[in-house]
């Protein structure tokens, strides 16, 4: 019998999107050989939720999905109390998804002081200060299954993961969603005539794409192993960031036609200078249909 890592998957104010995204992990058989859920929202476990809240079941990793509020209960116990109990005994805590990390969509669900575990949007939260050293955040709405699973393997291996300011593994979050998008050339050369329903064009200029200033690996580690939202033609909604969800998600916020949010780390002067130069040229290949007659 192998020594499996014992994992508790706890849902707080959630839609279970991370749970189902996780079920898309392609090598599930191997995963279940290496890890055991003491509780999971869907997968059978040795213990019931009632066992989890009434007893203290030995456990190595605590996974939290969903936004957190003292007022929100599971099996008649506040999720905050459940988190506090298990956080003492586990090696690591992983906040799974954007709600558990920053509050996300369900930050607005109306429960008292709802936020992520360590962050209320981008502001540090005072709640679980003593647990910061134990926590890794894997944000995303939902989290990419490979990001979650490989983070768990890194914990199992005791691999040192470098984390960013929001406790996210840089290995996955140092990139922007823009990296690897098949529509990159339309961005690079400022071909700003995107229309929905086409293979061509970039959604950054008019349709609210947040990929150049959103951290994550969506276009590096593809979704469902085959695609990404921006490749398909849907704008990146910035779902890995503390600001998710912003307002007016399908249109680009512009000031005198200049996008307010620019590629991360790129100064306005640099961006506008390069944009001005690129825009001066007409590149026939990018003006035409990609696959033409």
């Amino acid at each position: 019998m192998k020594n499996k890592m014992r994992v508790l998957w706890l849902s707080a104010i959630a839609c279970n999107g991370n749970t189902h995204a996780f079920l898309n992990y392609p090598y599930m058989e191997q995963f279940l050989d290496d890890f055991e859920f003491i509780y999971h929202p869907v997968i059978d476990s040795e213990y019931s939720l009632e066992d989890i809240v009434s007893k203290e079941i030995p456990c190595d990793i605590l996974l939290i999905e969903g936004a957190i509020s003292k007022e929100f209960q599971r099996a008649d116990v506040s999720v905050v109390d459940i988190i506090e109990k298990y956080s003492k005994i586990v090696q690591k805590i992983v906040t799974v998804g954007t709600c558990a990390t920053f509050g996300g969509i369900f930050r607005e669900s109306g429960y008292e002081e709802t936020s992520g575990m360590h962050f209320d949007q981008d502001k540090p939260s005072q709640k679980f200060q003593d647990l910061i050293d134990k926590t890794i955040s894997v944000s995303g709405c939902p989290v990419h299954p490979e990001v979650l699973v490989n983070t768990l393997y890194a914990i199992k291996k005791n691999a040192a993961l470098k984390l960013d300011n929001f406790l996210r593994p840089k290995e996955f979050y140092a990139y922007t969603i823009h990296n690897g998008c098949t529509r990159n050339e339309y961005f690079e050369y400022k071909v700003d005539n995107h229309q929905f329903g086409k293979l061509e064009g970039c959604m950054f200029y008019d349709h609210g794409c947040q990929a150049p200033f959103t951290h994550g690996s969506c276009n590096k580690i593809l979704w469902n192993e085959i695609n990404s939202k921006t490749r398909a033609g849907l704008s990146c909604m910035g779902c890995t960031e503390p600001t998710f969800p912003r307002q007016n998600l399908f249109s680009t916020k512009k000031n005198m036609a200049i996008p307010e949010n620019l590629p991360v780390g790129v100064g306005k002067r640099v961006y506008l200078t390069l944009a001005g130069i690129s825009k001066a040229f007409k590149i026939d290949r990018l003006e035409k249909k990609l696959i033409d007659d």
Binding site: K254, N255, M256, A257, I258, E260, K268, R269, L272, T273, G276, I277, K279, A280, F281
Partner: protein, 196 residues
């Protein structure tokens, strides 16, 4: 060494600008410019391979000059209205101190596009200047002083107005000094662009 060569280039451009303004762009030849600087024509070509190259370099030189001035204004911690005024003042100041520069921009760059078609596509050669105008607009809208609109409708209003005034001045039809119009022009431009 480089600085010395750059200095010489700027001297040539300055002389060329003055000659273009007095004799006209097409009537001015490279030998004319060389003569005005007491340089040999051969030596001139070490600096600029052709008159077209010189023409393009001059427009970039002007854009950099104006861009630098506007950047200083953009970086000041003042209201959009004050920035508007300062940009207008700076533009008129340049028109008075270096009339040949604005003259070149308006009469030669904008009306002889064929000279600039290779290497000066779109706004490439006036990038520094346009970028600063963009930043002035962008920041104005962001802090809600200016109204959101298409960039070119705002740019045309601003630069067309200033260019027109300088043009009238150059034709000697303005009864007053350019600076005497700054208050009214600031008022008009700001009123047209602002959210008020």
């Amino acid at each position: 060494m480089l600085d010395k060569k750059q200095l010489k280039k700027e001297q040539i451009m300055q002389s060329a600008l003055e000659l273009f303004a007095s004799k006209g762009f097409y009537s001015t030849t490279i030998p004319d410019i060389a003569l005005s600087l007491k340089m040999s024509v051969g030596n001139m070509y070490n600096y600029f391979k052709s008159k077209d190259v010189l023409a393009r370099e001059i427009i970039k030189y002007i854009s950099e000059y104006l861009g630098k001035k506007l950047r200083e204004i953009n970086e000041e911690d003042i209201s959009t209205k004050e920035k508007t005024r300062k940009i207008i003042e700076e533009y008129f100041k340049t028109a008075s101190l270096k009339p040949e520069m604005i003259d070149y921009f308006l009469r030669i760059y904008l009306s002889n596009r064929e000279v600039f078609k290779d290497g000066c596509e779109g706004m490439i050669c006036v990038n520094e200047f346009v970028t600063e105008i963009m930043i002035y607009f962008e920041e104005g809208v962001k802090c809600k002083d200016l109204r959101e609109q298409d960039f070119f409708s705002a740019f045309g209003l601003f630069m067309g107005y200033l260019g027109g005034m300088v043009f009238l001045k150059g034709e000697n039809v303005l009864p007053k000094d350019l600076n005497d119009y700054v208050d009214d022009i600031t008022f008009n431009i700001y009123k047209a662009l602002s959210t008020e």
